[in-house]
């Protein structure tokens, strides 16, 4: 999992081996602690100033996390005998480089967040995951094309292509699924007609966090095994490559239900942080909107709770299916490179969707700003456009 989050840098032993994973962990940790620490909760709702404070805190926490991870990794490299020299400064230099590069990458993500569209962490993740996709797909197709099903050599390749397209479309579908509740605005009544709108409730509010969390929980014992340096048999339960082995059923029987339960629980409860019926009901009241056919106040909360509960359940089920199907396929057909596909697919599609939406907003706002600039100055002035553009961005 750590390797996915670093975009394969860890397995390649790159200079930036940790990538932006400490910054991701720090952001997730601060988001979770925001629910229990009032100061953080206030910062999350405090607009620009709060975002600045959270960015600084994330940066500091990410350095602490990268120091902790580096100590563990350097220790595991020593256990594996990867260092050719026994000098005391060798682990120190390797660890120092890893911590410094992850700090530089965290700074770059903050700059991308502030100056460009999209989120810096997402851009790094997307580039990292997609850089390893062509190679792993080539390996998978090479293995599959060498096999035959019912005596037909092209059948496995066609089945694999169809399966990948179906999975891609399924991920796109669940990320666009939303329930629209009809709204009526009491303050916008004109004569007998009342202006209406819709309240969109997404099936998956945050699709990345639960899968990342579940996979991290599963990979933690394996990392600990590397650090400690002793091989404990029962830790194979957490190793996805040990699943679906006919000669040793214990990892499959314990590990698979555990993985599904973890994704299901994290998905259900992480969305509870982000989609809260009390907050939505309060926002509707402030906007002067009511859900058609529902009395404002307590009834609206109960109504929203019922719908949100159902959406959370089905969202969690869909996430389990997407994460589990590639692992099942990799276990049954012996394609180890397919195992991480589910996690990667969800990450890639949701990042592309967010980037595309951000890009559209930027394009539209850019046009809007240029139009106003022309109306104000009466002529096309590049300086005024740039000035307005800067003002708009701030």
């Amino acid at each position: 999992m750590l390797n996915i989050l670093t975009g394969g840098n860890l397995s390649r032993m790159s200079v930036a081996a940790l990538g932006v994973s400490p910054f991701i962990s720090a952001s997730i940790a601060l988001q979770i602690f925001g629910a229990v620490i009032p100061r953080l909760q206030a910062a999350q709702k405090d607009g620009f100033a709060g975002r600045k404070l959270l960015q600084r805190l994330s940066f500091i926490v990410s350095i602490l996390i990268s120091i902790g991870t580096t100590v563990g990794l350097v220790r595991s490299y020593q256990n594996l005998g990867l260092f050719t020299s026994d000098a005391w400064y060798v682990p120190l230099i390797v660890g120092g480089i890893m911590v410094c590069t992850s700090a530089v990458l965290a700074l770059v993500t903050i700059v991308i967040d502030e100056r460009f569209f999209g989120r810096g962490v997402s851009v790094f993740l997307l580039a990292g995951i997609l850089s390893s996709v062509p190679g792993s797909l080539y390996q998978t197709f090479k293995t599959v094309s060498a096999s035959a099903l019912f005596g037909v050599t092209w059948l496995p390749t066609v089945l694999l292509i169809c399966g990948l397209i179906a999975l891609w479309l399924f991920v796109c579908w669940i990320l666009h699924c939303e329930q629209e509740l009809p709204l009526a605005y009491s303050k916008k009544a004109v004569g007998d007609t009342v202006e209406g709108g819709v309240l969109p409730l997404q099936l998956l509010v945050n699709s990345i966090m639960p899968v990342v969390f579940a996979s991290m929980c599963l990979s933690l014992p394996s990392v600990l095994r590397l650090i400690v340096g002793t091989d404990v048999a029962w830790l194979r339960v957490f190793d996805t490559s040990a699943w679906f082995k006919v000669d040793d059923l214990m990892p499959s029987l314990v590990g698979i239900p555990l993985y599904i339960c973890l994704i299901f629980l994290f998905s259900k409860y992480s969305q509870a942080f982000l989609m809260n019926e009390v907050e939505i009901s309060e926002a509707l009241r402030r906007a002067g909107a009511v859900i058609v056919g529902v009395v404002p106040g307590h009834d609206t909360e109960v109504f929203l709770q019922k719908h949100i509960k159902r959406l959370r359940f089905w969202g969690a089920v869909c996430l389990c299916v997407i994460s589990f199907v590639p692992i099942l396929a990799s276990g049954l057909f012996g394609l180890s490179s397919l195992g991480i596909l589910g996690t990667s697919l969800i990450l890639v599609v949701s990042i592309i969707r967010d980037l595309y939406y951000d890009f559209r907003v930027e394009v539209r706002s850019g046009r809007y700003v240029r139009l106003i600039s022309r109306m104000v100055s009466g002529k096309k002035s590049n300086d005024s456009v740039a000035l307005l553009w800067e003002g708009f961005r701030v």
Binding site: P134, I165, W168, C172, W173, R353
Partner: protein, 40 residues
């Protein structure tokens, strides 16, 4: 549930695939170019 037609889903899927292919092409191309120039 908001209805998303199969055609619309295909369009979204193709659009996202196109963006993914562009990013993958750019990253892999850059990787290849840097390796070719012996920089990494």
């Amino acid at each position: 549930m908001k209805k998303l037609s199969f055609l619309a889903l295909l369009k979204i899927g193709a659009l996202y695939f196109g963006i993914a292919a562009l990013v993958a092409g750019f990253v892999c191309g850059l990787d290849f170019a840097l390796k070719w120039m012996w920089l990494i």
